[in-house]
Symmetry: C2
Subunit: 198 residues, 2 copies
Amino acid sequence: MGKVLVFGHTSPDTDAIVSAIAFAELKNKLGETVEPVRLGALNGETEYVLKHFNTDAPRLVKTVSNEVPAVYLVDHNEPQQSADDIDKVDVLSVVDHHRISGFETKAPLYYRAEPVGCTATILNKLYKENGVVVPKTIAGLMLSAIISDTLLFKSPTCTDEDVKAAKELEEISGVDTQTYGLAMLKAGTNIGDKSAEE
Amino acid sequence: MGKVLVFGHTSPDTDAIVSAIAFAELKNKLGETVEPVRLGALNGETEYVLKHFNTDAPRLVKTVSNEVPAVYLVDHNEPQQSADDIDKVDVLSVVDHHRISGFETKAPLYYRAEPVGCTATILNKLYKENGVVVPKTIAGLMLSAIISDTLLFKSPTCTDEDVKAAKELEEISGVDTQTYGLAMLKAGTNIGDKSAEE
Ligand SMILES: [Mn+2]
Ligand SMILES: [Mn+2]
Ligand SMILES: [Mn+2]
Ligand SMILES: [Mn+2]
């Protein structure tokens, strides 16, 4: 199998970006060649997260069928939230925590959705199921995604599984979740405010 | 949560019947109240399987919304292969090995599809992930579903994961897979022939 691209939804949030990075890392560790890409500009919060963990942003793309015949999706499934030409490629797998709508495949695939607060929470399980230890930097990124999607565990979509995954990722990454989480959420807000003022 | 029904597709095959039974057993062991039902007549092979393992057939239903507000699906996802009134209930989870088509939900759900030869192969993983040992009779039934869907490991849809799951279920059930499998597939064929002659 040649290179496969993985990406989250358009207007990406931290989970869309981080889950693409974390999924690609897992697949690459398992011997595949997977590149994380993104379908839109980074928001301020995600910029803060990537800078904090000294990680490059995934490459920006508009279309994918010009590069690869098949893709992996994370943090979305609906075609209207995906690449412009998603109908021109095969979706080999989906890891997501949203409702399913308008999603169709011609062939069987790996589809893993769970009603939890964040895609990174499901990815944390996939690392364990595949016997791969989450690298320290990836753990920090995944923890950031959970903090972002659950608003530091305060959103009504936050589940016990998100809290449990965050604890495990906190341990691996050595991040102080409360201190870092508040700074990270604040960074998103500040930059949002600044843009609004500009 | 009240009682939930679980069922496979219309014109049920052995996997559709057995996966409903095995999924209900797992959920009941985890403290839920789940009843397996079926959407059509048993075929000859499935009759042979249930008789061999001394197991009652799931109750036959046409509609489900008159009984429950929410259901679990196994071995299918397409609405036209499901209960007549599937649009009137919430689908809480799907375990399947087919392509996804026409499937929509209003809310996030647990969706577990893998590109393997049989739903029972995925259920074998779910038992392990939930720390529940497959009961001996259920193991025999699940092994039967894998034999049926993969034609005793000879179909092109059969994967290494199906073979691995069958080995584990053979061990638990004490069934001789080759001898039993041939008899089971033959039973399906014989009864099929008989019906055609009648
Ligand atoms: Mn998102
Ligand atoms: Mn998300
Ligand atoms: Mn079937
Ligand atoms: Mn099947």
